[in-house]
Symmetry: C2
Subunit: 139 residues, 2 copies
């Protein structure tokens, strides 16, 4: 099916282009994933984050240490269990995540800037429907 | 711009759905990335793979050890430098990668199975153009 081939190609291209440090990526890709998850879902335990992202805990803890060192994430007491800790985005972490997200969006926006507006609109519309179909599966 | 929002949503949904172990993922997501790279580009040194995927070498070497343990990758002598080693997919690694890729494709195919064929064709066509635009940027 051609659609799934194009999606696989898209996924691979986006993954390569957006994480390319020669294009100014400011975060390693695992760091971006960690910050994105904390931005989307709020503070959580490292174990839950590792599980949700399919990362092994030792990989994650090395990345978290690097992010904490740069003061992009903070370890705080878990409100549900005072002996445990949660990870939380700092203001600087939130800012850097959003800046990195803007940079990524601009890479795609630039690639289609020369398209007729009607094609861009049509693609956005169909992707919206595709996302709704996938979201139903994900639920 | 709506298109880039839908692409970000698509990327996140695909990432979550295809790597979800409850849906039968047979490889951790970093393992899938490693096998995909070796399948696409052939044998290479671990350092080149780490660099290309933006992974730190110690993260990668733990994953490679796990893949070698399951005999999905093999360490072979680098033909350009006999003191160095390259990673290479085994037949079993190639088979598992292709099976996992088919599983991922089926997840997307199922999600749009109820669409009119003309919408699927239109989306495939526009994604093809998008990929070509992105590929030019990536080159």
């Amino acid at each position: 099916m051609q659609l799934s081939q194009e999606l696989a190609r898209l996924f691979s291209l986006l993954w390569r282009i957006t994480n390319d440090q020669r294009r100014g990526a400011t975060l390693a890709r695992l760091e971006y994933l960690i910050l994105a998850r904390l931005y989307r879902d709020g503070a959580m335990r490292a174990g839950d984050l590792a599980h949700g992202e399919g990362l092994d805990p030792s990989t994650l803890s090395r990345r978290i240490a690097a992010l904490a060192e740069r003061e992009l994430v903070l370890r705080v007491t878990d409100p549900d269990d005072r002996r445990a800790q949660q990870l939380q985005l700092t203001d600087a972490g939130r800012e850097q995540f959003l800046a990195e997200q803007r940079r990524r969006v601009a890479l795609v926006t630039d690639a289609v800037a020369h398209w007729p507006a009607s094609d861009r609109a049509k693609l956005a519309h169909l992707l919206h429907d595709l996302n709704d179909s996938l979201q139903k599966k994900a639920a």
